[in-house]
Assembly symmetry: none
Homo-oligomer: 211 residues x 2
DNA sequence: GGCACAATAGCACTTTAGTGTTACTGGCTG
DNA sequence: CAGCCAGTAACACTAAAGTGCTATTGTGCC
């Protein structure tokens, strides 16, 4: 089977692991290149295998699936990772995507769906169950929140805040804008009043967004 | 047809508009509640219709589809918008999602796919064509920053810095971690030494990256 | 067992940031 | 034209952040 998709399975629960193995190795066009119960074992073997796709559980003992993807994606950017989990909690989804997972599916999907997802992620696609796609899409909405904060501040106030957010002191910002330190204070004061905060960092987090 | 999905079409190209209309009104379970060639006309009529789903073209004369969604989603949050376009350019995708679009499909999808997408977005899902899902997922991939700053700091130091970057005062961070304010000071001192800086903001910009 | 180091904590002191209040100027607008 | 507002600036004061120095505890390593 020369151009079958080489798949590695990382899953700690024995039953699930074995049924995934059976599913993949029993199917034409798919080949199981390795099966591991822990991230550590999979990471150790990865350089010798370099599969096309890794089916990665999130909840693993020791190094969890997300951390494993983070490490492996750095070293093997050409491998596509498909997260496979029972949880649909938002934090995990985004952490997995940040770490470099290409797709995110829920375990109780039908075998056919899982095979399709493997194929899709192998082709550089991004398989997601509908519920997860919804959360991902939704996350873009909240980013565009608070249209007011920008509009509230004047151009000069934004300029001052930008300099301070770069880490400049009042004194340094004043020098850069050829203003007195007192003027920087004044601007800050007004910004704080408008945004209902009382430190630089709070204002910066609101206006420029948190990391 | 009491519980058919009420769909509004906004599309400037006559041929596409009419074939979409034919597709939707000819299908059981779907009802076309309005057809418009411009965003302005659709916006004007929207309060009288309030459909379930709006099929919105992006390239429209005058107000474009993204701007239309932005305006309408604010006023009618319960309407689900499905962007329908020939372009897959990344900027447009993200702008549309930020504006509040629930799904994003490519026009040359099969009629069946389009109907499915309408149904999915109506149920709060997030239909995306594979190519678009891929771009969305990839946008989450963070560039691995040089581990220098990351590795330099201990887990505890990172934890403290994270809290301070959220805008907490030393006092508040101390309370949250059940530490003394002096300990927070100590941690900061060490962080500053390691990173060769002398304010919170500089450290935060180095460790978490600038906006 | 000795050593290095992270985490904790205290005290005294300086520097920066933030608050309350006031004041002058120049544009824009009803 | 009178009034509002943004931008500028000052002074006095309080609060918070940052610096220097020291000390105790626990963990891991040679």
């Amino acid at each position: 089977m020369a151009n079958a998709i080489n798949v590695v399975i990382v899953e700690d629960v024995r039953d699930i692991r074995e049924s995934l193995l059976a599913l993949i190795s029993g199917m034409t066009g798919y080949h199981c290149a390795g099966v591991y119960a822990t991230a550590e074992a999979a990471i150790a073997d990865m350089p010798a295998i370099v599969p096309d796709v890794v089916l990665m559980d999130i909840n693993l003992p020791g190094i969890n699936g997300i951390e494993a993807v983070r490490q492996l994606k750095d070293r093997f950017p050409e491998i596509n990772f498909l997260m496979c989990t029972v949880f649909e909690d938002t934090d995990n989804i985004f952490r997995a995507l940040e770490a470099g997972a290409g797709g995110y599916i829920v375990k109780n999907n039908s075998p056919l769906k899982i095979l399709e997802a493997i194929k899709e992620v192998n082709e550089g696609g991004a398989p997601m169950s509908a519920a997860i796609a919804k959360k991902v899409i939704h996350s873009f909405r909240k980013v565009a929140k608070e249209p007011s904060s920008h509009a509230l501040l004047s151009a000069r106030e934004m300029e001052v805040l930008q300099l301070l957010s770069d880490g400049l002191l009042y004194k340094e910002a004043a020098d850069k804008l050829n203003l007195s330190v007192e003027t920087i204070r004044s601007h800050c004061r007004k910004v704080y009043e408008k945004l209902h905060v009382n430190t630089k960092l709070e204002a910066i987090n609101i206006v420029f967004g948190k990391r």
